[in-house]
C-alpha cells in the first residue's frame, strides 16, 4: 500500500525528538509569557484610569482580530526597521506570547467578572486593600471559571508553534520539512510529526481536565 520505510523512521527520529523539545519549549515559554502578560492586560482594563483601559482594550481587540502569522512576521521583519533586531526565537516568543496574552486576558476577565459583587463588598467591609481583594478573594474564585479556557489555549498555543517555522525556529514542522527536502521523502517525517502532536495534545488535554477538577475541589467550589 504505502511505501513506508521503518529504517528511515529510526534514522530521523533523533532529529525529530530534538525538534519536539524545541516545540515544547516554544509552547511552554510562550504560554508562560501569555499567562503573566494576560493577567496584566486583564487587570489594566479594570483600573479607574480611563486612558489606560482604553489603550489596552483596543490593543487586545487589534491583536485578536489579526492573524498570528502576520504578528510573527511583523515582529521579526518589521522590528529591524525600528532598530530592533531580534533572533527568530525571541521574535517568536514575543509574538506568540503577546498573541495568547490577549486571548488569556479575556479568559481572566471572564473569570473575574464571574465573581459575585457581594464578594467585593465583603472584602471592602473587612477593609482590605485592592491588592488583598484580588489576591485573597477574587482571583482564587476566578481561577476555576478561567481554568477551562486557560487549558484550551495551552493546547492552542502548542498547535500554533508550527507558525514559528516561517521565521526559522527549528520546531517540529520546520525540521520535518528540512528532512523531507534533504531526502526527497515527506511521508515519514510529516506522519511522525502528526503522531507526536497527537501524543502530546491528547494527554495534555486529559491532564488539564484532571487538574481543573482538583483545583475546583481544593477551593471547595
Amino acid at each position: 500500500m504505502f511505501d513506508w520505510k521503518w529504517d528511515f523512521v529510526w534514522e530521523i527520529l533523533p532529529r525529530l525528538l530534538v525538534a519536539t523539545g524545541n516545540t515544547l519549549l516554544a509552547a511552554g515559554a510562550g504560554y508562560a509569557i501569555a499567562l503573566v502578560l494576560g493577567l496584566v492586560f486583564a487587570l489594566a482594563q479594570r483600573t479607574p484610569y480611563r486612558a489606560l483601559t482604553f489603550v489596552v482594550r483596543e490593543f487586545v481587540e487589534f491583536i485578536r482580530s489579526t492573524p498570528l502569522l502576520l504578528q510573527i512576521f511583523f515582529v521579526f521583519y518589521v522590528g529591524p526597521q525600528f532598530g530592533l533586531r531580534l533572533s527568530p526565537w525571541t521574535s517568536g516568543m514575543i509574538a506568540i506570547g503577546l498573541h495568547y496574552a490577549c486571548y488569556l486576558s479575556e479568559v481572566y476577565r471572564g473569570g473575574i467578572e464571574s465573581v459575585p459583587r457581594g464578594q467585593w463588598e465583603a472584602a471592602t467591609a473587612l477593609n482590605m486593600t485592592i491588592t488583598q481583594k484580588y489576591r485573597r478573594v477574587i482571583i482564587p474564585q476566578a481561577i476555576p471559571t478561567a481554568l477551562s479556557g486557560m487549558g484550551n489555549y495551552l493546547v492552542g498555543i502548542l498547535k500554533d508553534t508550527p507558525m514559528l517555522s516561517v521565521i526559522g525556529v527549528a520546531e517540529l514542522i520546520h525540521v520535518a520539512n528540512s528532512i523531507g527536502s534533504e531526502h526527497y521523502r515527506f511521508l515519514e517525517p510529516i506522519t511522525m510529526v502528526g503522531i507526536i502532536f497527537l501524543a502530546i495534545s491528547l494527554p495534555a488535554a486529559g491532564l488539564i481536565r484532571l487538574f481543573e477538577g482538583r483545583v475546583r475541589r481544593k477551593l471547595g467550589l
Binding site: Q119, A122, T124, A125, M128, Q132, R136, P140, G220
Partner: protein, 271 residues
C-alpha cells in the same frame, strides 16, 4: 471649626455621637434615594430601621460601610469625618487612604452572608485579622475561635460555607465581622434569606451582642417583633426620609404619623 460649607471638621464634646449623618443626599441618576438625611446614633445604641421596600434602608447602611459614595452632606464616625477628610481647613472627599483608616471602625453583615466560599468558617474569620490587622495566625485563630464559640459555630469551624445552612453561614458572617473589633456593626436584613425555622439562631446571636457587648448597632429588619424587643430606637423610613422615629414602645404602640400607622397595620395583616 466649620468647613466653608458649614460642616464641622470634627465633632467634639461629651455627647459625640458614634455615627452622625449630616444632610446626606444620595441619588442614582435621576432617582434621589435619600434626601437630607440627619441621623445621630449614640455609642452603644441599637437602632433599627424599618420601612417599605425601596425606601432607602439598605442605602443608609451601604453609605456608612463606604460601599456607596454620597452626593452631598457628611457622615461622621466617632467624631471624625468618614466620607470626607480635612484639608487646609476644609472638608474634601475622602481618598482611599482616608477610607482605609476610618472604615476599620465599621463592620457589616449582609442579607446573603457573602462568606468567602474557598475558605472554611475559621479561615473566613481569620482572614481580616491576619491580612488587614496584621495579627499573627495564632492570635487570629484564638480570637476567631472565641467568636465562633460565641455564635455557636465552633463545631463547624473547618467546614466550607457550601456545607453550612443559611443560618449557620450568617452566624459565621457575624463572627467574621466581629473579629475585626469594629465599634459599629451594621446588619442588613440578615434574616431575610433564611428559612423561618433558623431565623431564631441568628436573632439570638444579635440579642446576645446587645446584652453583653457595648457595640453600636444599626439594623435594617422586617421583623417588627424583634426590632421592638431589642432596639433602643426605631426609625421608620419612607421615600428616602425618616418619617418617624422613637423608642420602640412608642413607635409601635402609638405611631403619630399616618404613613407609619398604615405601614405597621399592613405588616400586621401580612403576618
Amino acid at each position: 471649626m466649620l468647613d466653608h460649607t458649614g460642616f464641622p471638621l470634627e465633632i467634639t464634646g461629651e455627647t459625640t455621637p458614634m455615627v452622625s449623618f449630616r444632610k446626606v443626599r444620595k441619588s442614582y441618576g435621576a432617582l434621589t434615594v435619600l434626601k437630607n438625611l440627619d441621623l445621630d446614633i449614640a455609642e452603644g445604641e441599637m437602632v433599627s430601621i424599618i420601612g417599605p421596600s425601596g425606601s432607602g434602608k439598605t442605602t443608609v447602611l451601604r453609605m456608612l460601610m463606604t460601599l456607596e459614595q454620597i452626593d452631598d452632606g457628611v457622615i461622621y464616625v466617632d467624631g471624625q469625618p468618614l466620607t470626607h477628610m480635612p484639608k487646609q481647613g476644609r472638608l474634601v472627599r475622602a481618598n482611599e487612604r482616608h477610607l482605609r483608616n476610618r472604615r476599620a471602625d465599621i463592620g457589616m453583615c449582609f442579607q446573603h452572608f457573602n462568606l468567602f466560599p474557598h475558605m472554611t468558617a475559621l479561615e473566613n474569620c481569620m482572614e481580616g485579622p491576619v491580612q488587614v490587622l496584621g495579627l499573627s495566625k495564632a492570635e487570629a485563630r484564638d480570637r476567631s475561635e472565641e467568636l465562633l464559640e460565641l455564635v455557636g459555630m465552633i463545631s463547624k469551624k473547618d467546614q466550607r460555607p457550601s456545607r453550612l445552612s443559611g443560618g449557620q453561614q450568617q452566624r459565621v458572617a457575624i463572627a467574621r465581622a466581629l473579629a475585626m473589633r469594629p465599634k459599629v456593626m451594621l446588619f442588613d436584613e440578615v434574616t431575610s434569606a433564611l428559612d423561618p425555622e433558623v431565623i431564631g439562631e441568628v436573632t439570638n446571636v444579635i440579642r446576645k451582642l446587645v446584652s453583653e457587648h457595648n457595640l453600636t448597632m444599626l439594623m435594617v429588619t422586617h421583623q417588627m417583633g424583634f426590632a421592638r424587643d431589642i432596639s433602643d430606637r426605631v426609625c421608620f423610613f419612607y421615600g428616602g426620609k425618616i418619617e418617624e422615629q422613637g423608642p420602640p414602645a412608642e413607635l409601635f404602640g402609638n405611631p403619630q404619623r399616618e404613613r407609619t400607622q398604615q405601614f405597621l397595620s399592613a405588616v400586621r395583616e401580612a403576618v
